[in-house]
């Protein structure tokens, strides 16, 4: 799995950080997404897919490899 984030689309909701805190974080100054792990381990895949669906800005894309 490879994770892509479209940073200009991000609206800083923080939903992804609440679901998958090992993969996503937020910038301190404006809450915009920070991708911590572009290729997360299998144990986190379900949470990452959930984050991608829940993201209110559709700013997360999961590419299954």
């Amino acid at each position: 799995m490879r994770v892509e984030v479209d940073v200009p689309k991000c609206v800083a909701s923080g939903q992804c950080v609440m679901i998958a805190p090992d993969v996503f974080d937020q910038r301190e100054e404006d809450g915009i997404v920070v991708l911590l792990d572009e290729k997360p381990p299998a144990a986190l895949h379900a949470d990452v897919r959930e984050s991608a669906v829940v993201c209110p800005a559709a700013a997360i894309r999961v590419v299954e490899e």
């Binding site: 937020q26 829940v54 800005a57």
Partner: protein
Amino acid sequence: MVVGASAAGLAAAETLRREGYEGTITLIGEEPHHPYDRPPLSKQILGGQWEADRVALRAPADLDALGLELRLGTAATGLDLAGRTVGLADGARVPYDGLVIATGVRPRRLPGDGGERAHVLRTLDDALALRDRLGPGRRLVVVGAGFLGAEAAAVARGLGMEVTLLEPAPVPLAPAVGEPVGRMLAEVHHDHGVALRTGVTVTEVADGGVRLADGTLVEADEVLVSIGSVPNTDWLEGSGLTVGDGLECDEYSAAAPGVYGAGDVARWHNPLFGTAMRIEHRTNATEQGMAVARNLLRPDERRPFAPVPYFWSDQYDLRIQAHGRLRGHEEIAVVEGALEERKFLAAYRCGDRVAGVLAVGMPPRTVRTWRQAVATRAAWRDAVGELVPEGA
């Protein structure tokens, strides 16, 4: 079958597939477009920063991979619960085993708003039509200072328009965010040169502008009517489903056995707050779409839909974020920062608990901590302090 091809309907269809359903999924949409995102319509699309293709909710390849039976540009016109079919505008009757109703809302209208200068803002086509008419020096009157109207006013000011924002209430957004925050937002618009007039009722869109209840004309080149919305439940009339302010659903978001409601159209009982709610916010559409798909797939392991609602709004350089239930609050306390600095976090009390929080310009960790207080039903006394008696 999923009726409604916007955020909630797409989330339901996608979740059904992702969680192993291999049968036919029919996704019916009234609009001709592939599922797209609405929040940018009153922001980046209206402001011209984004082209229309940027609002697609899924890349075409990702949408194809779901293997959906897409029927776009076709409204649902009737439901036969006993026969398990949905009737479409093109005359087709499509059978289903399970049904998700996610038909959303449509804008409320004003008398006389059919003319060329009058606009509403719900669909991509609405946004593109209004965008083409915005420009420096032109006069825009926005009727209704809710989030949609306020965002559009901010965008139009940014494009150099003369903007008048008309609102019937004394303080804009007071029921949604409380008077102190509503007053702050009113000041923000004033600072940016919007002529905000409160306590005025618009009766119609007229030649040359809008007519107020006292008979005066407020002149405008373009008029945006943003006075709330109406759930799209007409097609359910006579179906046997209960329709009031939206489609009535239980705590599982079910409207009948095997029939679920999701998104703006659905009014359901949220057990986290012990009350019925209907939420017209982007995040809820997705979360509810996912939840009903799971309940539909696994009828023996159904889970109540008990989210902490979330919304955000961008106005000028401010991003407003709110978690929980703010409507019906009995007290507001600014618990971080200060309203005057336009960097703060306000807590909203319902009964003896923290029911909601609203933040502007606060660090994300702080906002997440307070959201957690809402999710865990934190007592106001513990999280904020002593209760302030009514009217104090």
